[in-house]
Symmetry: C2
Subunit: 451 residues, 2 copies
C-alpha cells in the first residue's frame, strides 16, 4: 500500500513499551494494595464532565490549560485533576456515602499546557482523601504520612522525607506580626525559600512593604531548627493569645506524636515551617515529600487539610485531608534515573517450546502450569530452534520447558533455568516445584532501587 499514515503519539501523552508498562502496573498495584489496607474505597469518575461542573472555581489561567469542547449543545471538559470530580461526587451521592468517606482514585488527568520534558498533558494522578461530614479528627492527617511511608518503603524508595507544616501556625504567626492582610502572599513567598534562597525571599517580602524587623522575625521563624520535638518546644514557647496559632501548634503536635505510634521512622518525616503549598484552599496540615538526594525534582507527593471540599455543589460542610502522587511523573523520574528494578521483570514464568509434532501434550502441560498460578505461554509458531530460543530471550522468561517426543513418551518435561542455564528432566509436579521456588513472590520485590 502506498498511502501509509505514519503512526505517532501526541507529545506529552505517555505510552510505554510492554516491559516498562509491567513495572508501571506493579507500582500501581502496590499503591492500590496499600490504599485498600488502610480501608480506602476505590472511585472511578468519568474523564469527561460538564464544563459548568468542573470549572466552577477556575480563572482564565486554568481555562487555557484545559481540554474543553462542545459536542452538540453540551459544553464538555476533560478532568484536569481528581479533586474537583471528588467534590462533585461526594456532594452528589452524600446521602449514600458513609462518612468519614475514604476514597482512593488512580486515574488519568489532562492539562493542555505546552509539553516539555517531565511535563505531561495526559498523566496519572494517584489520590487519597478522607472526607468528614461536618468534622474530621486531626489523627487522619497523621495517617496520610503513614500511608506515604508504607508506599515508598514497599516500592524500595527509602531515601525520602515527608515535610510537614500547618497553615494555621503560619497564618496565626503572620497575624501576630500584624500581617494578617498579607498572609496568603507571604505564604506564597515563604514557600519559595528552598528554590530562590533566603536573600531573594527577603527582597520579595520587602517589596511587599513588610518592615525589616518583620522580615527578620519571619525568616528566623521559618528557620526554626532542631529535632521535631525541639521545633515543637520552640513553637510552644511562641504560643500567644492568637487562637489560630495555638490550634495549629496543637494539631502539629498531635500529628507528630501519632506518627510515632504509626511506627513511621523518625528519619522519614520532619516539621518544616517553610512549607506552605501554593493552593489557597488548604487550612491546616500541609505536606510535601522529597527524595533526599534529589531535591531538584521537587515534591513527589503533596497534599493537606482543607475545611470544605464541595462548597460549590452543596451547603453540607465537608472537611477533609488528602494527598496526591503525580504517578506518571514519578515513574518517568525513576525510569530516567535507572532506579526501576527491571531485573526481575520477565514477561513469563515459563515458556513451553514444543519439540515434537504432537502439540496436545504441550497444551495440556501449559494448562496445568496455569492451573498452578504459573504465568506460562506455549510457543506455537513453526520456527527453527534458534528462533524459539531467541523468542525466549527477547520476551524474558524465568524458565523454558522443552517438550519433545522423549518427554511425551516418558511423561516428563525438560526444564531449563533460563538465567543459570541449569537443565533437568523431571516429572510435571517436580517442575512446578522448581518453578515456584525459582520465582520470587512479588511482595518481596522492591520495584525501585535507589542508589
Amino acid at each position: 500500500m502506498s498511502d501509509i499514515i505514519k503512526p505517532r503519539t501526541l507529545s506529552g501523552f505517555m505510552e510505554l513499551l510492554p516491559k516498562e508498562q509491567l513495572i508501571f502496573n506493579k507500582i500501581r498495584d502496590a499503591l492500590e494494595e496499600t490504599y485498600r489496607l488502610y480501608g480506602f474505597l476505590p472511585l472511578d469518575t468519568p474523564i469527561l464532565e460538564y464544563s459548568e461542573i468542573l470549572l466552577t472555581k477556575s480563572g482564565g489561567e486554568t481555562e487555557k490549560q484545559i481540554y474543553r469542547f462542545n459536542k452538540g449543545d453540551t459544553d464538555l471538559t476533560m478532568r484536569f485533576d481528581l479533586t474537583v470530580p471528588l467534590a462533585k461526587y461526594v456532594a452528589q451521592y452524600a446521602n449514600e456515602l458513609t462518612f468519614p468517606f475514604r476514597r482512593y482514585q488512580i486515574g488519568k488527568v489532562y492539562r493542555g499546557e505546552r509539553a516539555q520534558r517531565g511535563r505531561f498533558r495526559e498523566f496519572y494522578q494517584s489520590d487519597i482523601d478522607i472526607i468528614g461530614d461536618g468534622e474530621l479528627a486531626v489523627i487522619n492527617d497523621a495517617e496520610m504520612v503513614s500511608i506515604i511511608n508504607d508506599i515508598f518503603t514497599k516500592l524500595g524508595i527509602l531515601d525520602f522525607v515527608v515535610r510537614i507544616n500547618n497553615r494555621k501556625v503560619l497564618f496565626g504567626f503572620f497575624t501576630m506580626l500584624g500581617e494578617q492582610e498579607n498572609t496568603e502572599n507571604i505564604m506564597r513567598v515563604v514557600d519559595k525559600i528552598e528554590k530562590i534562597g533566603e536573600v531573594k525571599v527577603r527582597e520579595e517580602l520587602l517589596r511587599m512593604e513588610i518592615s525589616d524587623e518583620t522580615c527578620d522575625k519571619l525568616i528566623s521563624f521559618i528557620n526554626i531548627s532542631g529535632t521535631n520535638t525541639e521545633k515543637l518546644s520552640k513553637l510552644k514557647e511562641l504560643k500567644a493569645d492568637n487562637e489560630m496559632f495555638n490550634t495549629g501548634v496543637d494539631e502539629l503536635e498531635t500529628v507528630i506524636s501519632c506518627l510515632k505510634s504509626f511506627g513511621v521512622p523518625d528519619d522519614n518525616y520532619i516539621i518544616d515551617l517553610s512549607i506552605a503549598r501554593g493552593l489557597d484552599y488548604y487550612t491546616g496540615t500541609v505536606y510535601e515529600t522529597k527524595l533526599l538526594k534529589h531535591s531538584e525534582i521537587g515534591s513527589i507527593c503533596s497534599g493537606g487539610r482543607y475545611d470544605n471540599l464541595a462548597g460549590f455543589y452543596t451547603n453540607k460542610k465537608l472537611p477533609g485531608v488528602g494527598i496526591s502522587i503525580g504517578f506518571t511523573r514519578l515513574f518517568y523520574i525513576l525510569n530516567d534515573m535507572n532506579y526501576l528494578n527491571k531485573e526481575d521483570n520477565s514477561a513469563l514464568d515459563v515458556l513451553v517450546l514444543p519439540m515434537s509434532e504432537n502439540i496436545e501434550p504441550c497444551i495440556q502441560l501449559v494448562s496445568r502450569l496455569r492451573d498452578n498460578g504459573i504465568i506460562s505461554q506455549l510457543y506455537y509458531e513453526n520456527k527453527k530452534f534458534k528462533n524459539k530460543i531467541n523468542y525466549a530471550d527477547k520476551i524474558g522468561t524465568h524458565f523454558v520447558i522443552f517438550m519433545g517426543d522423549d518427554e511425551i513418551k516418558s511423561n516428563t518435561v525438560t526444564i531449563k533455568n533460563f538465567s543459570s542455564g541449569e537443565q533437568v528432566t523431571v516429572t510435571l509436579n517436580e517442575a512446578v516445584d522448581i518453578i515456584k521456588a525459582g520465582i520470587k513472590p512479588s511482595e518481596d520485590i522492591k520495584l525501585v532501587k535507589m542508589d
Copy 2:
C-alpha cells in the same frame, strides 16, 4: 452559599457507588490476572490521539459517533475502541516488540451516540490480541476460547457458551454456490438468523435475487446440527475443490481439537455456522459468547481472526486474533440481574473502635493488623458508641475490635465477628488468626452468582 451548582454526571457515563466499584475492580483484577497467566502483556495507550491516526478507515457513520475536537491547531479524537490504538502502537513500535505479541488492555472508550439504557458513551472494553509478524498459528485461535472459559468460570458465570465459526468456511461455501460476489451481504443476513428468524432471513436473501434453490442450500447449511464432531464430519463431507472452504474446515477442526487439550468443558463451546460477525475485517475464526439463559442480551464477548492489523500504518503484514469483552455493559447486566455477589463485599476486614482516651495503643494495633495484610481502619471520630456501631454497619466490616482501658492494660483486644455477633477477648496474635480464618481468600469468591 446561595449559588450552588447542582452536581450531576453526564448521561451514559458510568459512575458507581463504592461497594459496586469494589466488585467492578475485583472483576477487573480477575480479568487482568487471567490475561497475565496466559502471558499477555499490559498496554495503556492514550485516550486522545490525532484524528488523522484514529479515523483512517472510518466513514460518516463513525464520525458522528466520536468525540472529536480541536485544541489549538491540533485535530483530536477520543479513542472509540482499543483496536485502532493497538494497530497504531504495533506499527509504531514494531522493531521493539517481540512477535507473537500478546497484549491485553482494559480501558475506557468513547462513543458519542445517544445514551439509552444499556448503552454507554464512556465504557470499559477489555481486549486481548495476539499479533504475529507475517504469520500466526491457528492454535492461538483456540487459546482465546480457553481464556474466555477461564475468566467466566473464575467469576462464577458458568452458564455460557462460546459459539465458534470460521469465515473461510462461509466464504468458501458461498463461493461454491456461485455467490462469491454476495458473500459479505449474505454473511450480514445470515448473522441475523437468531434475531429475526429463518423466514425473514429467507425473505432478505430472496430480495437479494438469490434463487430459491440457493436459499434452501444456505439455510440447510447454517442449520447443520449435531455435536461438534458431527458438524465437522458433515462439513468434511461437503469438502470440494474450493481451497478456501477446505482451509476453513481444517482450521475449525484444529480449534475444536485443541479446545479438548485445553480442558475447556464440551458444554462451553459449540460450532455455530450462523455466526459471521458484522465486521468485514475478520478473515477466519470468529467467536460470540452467550449467557445460555439470557440470549436476549446478545454476545458478551466477541472477536475473531484477522489477516492484517495495521495496514494503514505499515507495510508489515501483521495477522492476529483477538477478543473483546464489553466490560461496563457486562457489569451493568450482571448488576441489574442481581447476579453480583455482594454478600462478601465488606469494605473492611476490621474496624477498630477506640473505647478509651488513650489512642496510641489503637494506632499501634491497626498498624500491626495492616502489617499482617488485614484491611483495617481505626475510627478516630469522637462520637457516641451508637454512632460508631452504626458506622461499622454501614461501611461493612467482617470484624470489629473494641479497645478500652481494660484491653490496653491487659494487652488484649476484644474482637466481635460482625455477622455472627460472637465476641471474645484475646491476644493480638490470636485476633490475627481469628481474622485470617474468618476472611475467605478472594480467589475462592465467585463474584457472580447466576441462577
